[in-house]
Subunit: 340 residues, 2 copies
DNA sequence: GCATTAATTTAAAACGGTTTGGTAAAATTC
DNA sequence: GAATTTTACCAAACCGTTTTAAATTAATGC
C-alpha cells in the first residue's frame, strides 16, 4: 500500500499522513493517533527506499568486516544490533579483502560516496590510520572503535588497554614474577601499542628490564598462543607469567604449559584479556583464568548510541569514551614457584 | 554529480547514459565506452537510493542475528561477505530479540515488507518453521541455511548432519564403545533432530539400546558442554564416548573429563562437530580432536551464490544442496578401556 | 533514390515518499 | 467584533534514477 491510497482511505492528504507518522508537531494529536492506529491496522509502512531518496538519509550504518578470523566480531555486532533494534536503522556489513590493503581504502571510499550508509564504524585502527583521514576528508560521519594518534578529529570509543595491561603486569610483579611474557595483538594496531606501553611501563616502574624476546605479536588464535607460549617456555630461564591478548591466546598458553608438564596457577601464571563471550568464559577454565575484562557486546551497544548521537548533530570532538577495564583475579595467577 | 549534469556534459540524454552504464544493448558500443570512461574520469556514480526506488531492488540481502552467543555467525558472515564483495550487494544484519519469539516473526515481516532487502537468509530452522511459511506467503525470496520439513517450497543449503553423526557414532561403536553420550544443539532445531536421528540410527543398526539419559540438548557453549559431560560421567556405568555438537562443547567435555581425572583418547573418546574456525582448531587440541567437519565460511560463500541464483530467477525447487561432512579421526578417539 | 527496417537516442512518466510554501479555520488578542 | 496569531491541513515541487513509448537517424533492400 502506498501513501497515496492510505491517505485517501483516511480522508487526509499525503502530507498530513507523512507528518503524522514522522511525529511532526503541526498535526493534531487526535489525527496523529488515528493515523498511527490505521497504519498498523491496514499495515501501511513507508517504502524505505523512497524515504531514503527523499530525505537523503540512508538509514544504515556501515561496518567493514575483515576476512581474518575475528571471533569477537559477532559479539560487537550483537551489541550494535541490540541497540539499533529499536531504531529504524540497519547495519550494513561490507566485506573487506584484507590481503589487499589498497582495496580497503577504496572500499571505504565507495561506502562513503555511494550513500548507502549514514555513518561508518572503523575497527582496530592504527596510530596513523588512512581510513580515518579518508572518512574525515569525505565528510562521512564515523566512530572509531579504538583510537588513533592521527591528527584528524575523530569520535571514538575505546577501552583502557594501557591501564588494563599495566595493572595486570604490575599485579604479576607484585606477586613476585620477574620474567613476564606478553602475547599481544597484531603489530601496528593502536590497541596493541597501548598494551605494549602498559606492559613496559609496569616493568619500568619496578625497575625490571624489558626483554624483547618475551614479547610477541599476532592474531588472536589458539594456534599462535600455543606457538608463542611454547617458544617462550623453552627459553632458559623461562618466563613464570604471561599476559595474553585474548581468550583464544589463553587457551593456547594453557595448552603449551600442559604440553610441557607445567602447572598453570603454580609454575606459570596467566592473565588474559576477556571480551566476555557467552560460549567461553574465563571463570570456567581450569584453572579459572585471571583476566582483564570488558564486554565487547556492551561496546557494540554503546557504539550504536554514539553513532546515533553523531548523526543527530553532536560534535565529533565531544564524542569519546575511554572505558575502564576490570581486573579479575582467579586461579591462574599465583606467586612464582620458589627459585624460579 | 547527478545523472542530469553528467549527461549534459556528455551531450547525451539521461536515458542513454543510464542505459550505457547498465549495459543495455540498445546503445552503441562507441557511446557506451565513452560514457564509461567519462564516468570514471568525472567520478559519476548513480545515487544508490534513487536506483533502488526506481528499480524496486534493494541491493541487499538480509541476515537475522539472534542475540545468543553464536560464535559461528561471524564465519558464516565472512563467507557471505567474501562472495558478495565482488557484486554490488550489501549484507543487512537485523537484530533479533530471541527472548521474544513473536518479535521474530514481526521482524521478518517488517524486513520483507519494508523493501530493505531482496532476499533473506534463514538460520537454524525448525521442522515446522513459521518464518519459512511467512516469507513464502509474502513472496520474499529466501534461502534456508539448514532445512525444514515444512510443506512450503524453500531453497536450502544444508550439511548432512544425520549422516555425519551416524558415521561418527558408528565409528565409536566399531571401536567397541557401548555407552555413547550425545551433547546436541538446541532442542527443536532441524539440525539437532537430524543429528539425533543419525545417532539413534547408528545405535539401532548395531542393536544397541537408546538411553535418553545419555542425550542432552542446549546452546553450544563450553559451559553446557562441561555441565552435561560432567553429569553424564557421574553416571554408573559411565559413558566411554561422546558425540558433541560443537568445538565449544568439546572444550567443555575435555574440561569435565580432566576434572574427573579421566584421560581423553583413552578412558573417554570424543568426536565433535567442527565448523572450522581460524582461531580454534580441532587439530591443535590436546589430545587432538576427532571431528566431523564442514566449513561454515564455505557455507556462507555458497549461500551468497545460491541467493544470487534465486534472485536471477532460478526456481526455488531447484535450489538445494546437501553437503557431505568429513569425518577426521585424531587422537581423541580410541577403543574403550578394558572392562568398561 | 525511395520505402522499409533496424539501430540509436530521447522526452516524459513512473518509483513512493518528504518538504516547501500556502490557505482556511480556530483560537487569541485588544 | 475586527485584527492577529496559531493550528491543522493541503497542493505541488522535489529527491535522482529507470523505463516506457515515441522520435530520430542510419542501414538495407530493390
Amino acid at each position: 500500500m502506498k501513501l497515496r491510497e492510505f491517505a485517501q482511505q483516511l480522508g487526509l492528504s499525503p502530507t498530513t499522513v507523512s507528518r503524522a507518522l514522522s511525529g511532526y508537531p503541526e498535526v493534531s494529536e487526535k489525527t496523529r493517533k488515528r493515523v498511527a492506529e490505521e497504519a498498523t491496522r491496514l499495515g501501511y509502512r513507508p517504502n524505505i527506499n523512497a524515504v531514503r531518496l527523499a530525505t537523503g538519509r540512508a538509514g544504515a550504518i556501515g561496518v567493514v568486516m575483515g576476512r581474518s578470523g575475528e571471533f569477537h566480531f559477532s559479539e560487537f555486532m550483537g551489541g550494535l544490533a541490540e541497540r539499533l533494534g529499536t531504531e529504524d536503522i540497519d547495519i550494513l556489513v561490507s566485506p573487506m579483502d584484507d590481503k589487499n590493503p589498497t582495496g580497503e581504502i577504496q572500499l571505504y571510499s565507495r561506502l562513503a560516496v555511494s550513500g548507502r550508509v549514514d555513518a561508518v564504524i572503523v575497527h582496530s585502527p592504527e596510530p596513523n590510520d588512512e581510513r580515518i583521514a579518508l572518512l574525515h576528508k569525505l565528510g562521512m560521519p564515523f566512530l572509531v572503535h579504538g583510537r588513533s594518534d592521527i591528527d584528524v578529529p575523530h569520535a571514538w570509543l575505546d577501552i583502557d588497554n594501557e591501564g588494563a595491561i599495566r595493572r595486570a603486569t604490575s599485579h604479576l610483579i607484585d606477586l613476585g614474577h620477574r620474567r613476564i611474557a606478553m602475547i599481544n595483538g597484531r603489530q601496528g594496531r593502536t590497541f596493541s601499542l597501548h598494551r605494549d606501553k602498559g606492559y613496559r611501563d609496569a616493568l619500568q616502574a619496578r625497575g625490571l628490564p624489558f626483554d624483547p624476546r618475551l614479547v610477541a605479536h599476532g592474531n588472536f588464535t589458539d594456534e599462535l598462543g600455543f606457538r608463542f607460549a611454547r617458544s617462550f617456555l623453552e627459553q632458559t630461564p623461562r618466563p613464570t607469567a604471561f599476559v595474553a591478548g585474548s581468550m583464544m591466546t589463553a587457551l593456547g598458553i594453557y595448552r603449551a604449559a600442559r604440553s610441557m608438564g607445567l602447572e598453570i596457577g603454580r609454575e606459570v601464571s596467566v592473565i588474559a584479556h576477556d571480551d566476555v563471550f557467552p560460549y567461553l568464559t574465563a571463570e570456567n577454565m581450569v584453572p579459572s583464568l585471571s583476566a582483564t575484562r570488558s564486554s565487547m557486546r556492551a561496546a557494540g551497544a554503546r557504539s550504536a548510541d554514539l553513532v546515533l548521537q553523531l548523526l543527530s548533530g553532536r560534535p565529533t570532538e565531544e564524542v569519546h569514551e575511554l572505558w575502564p577495564v576490570e581486573l579479575i583475579l582467579r586461579e591462574s595467577t599465583a606467586p612464582p614457584p620458589e627459585g624460579a
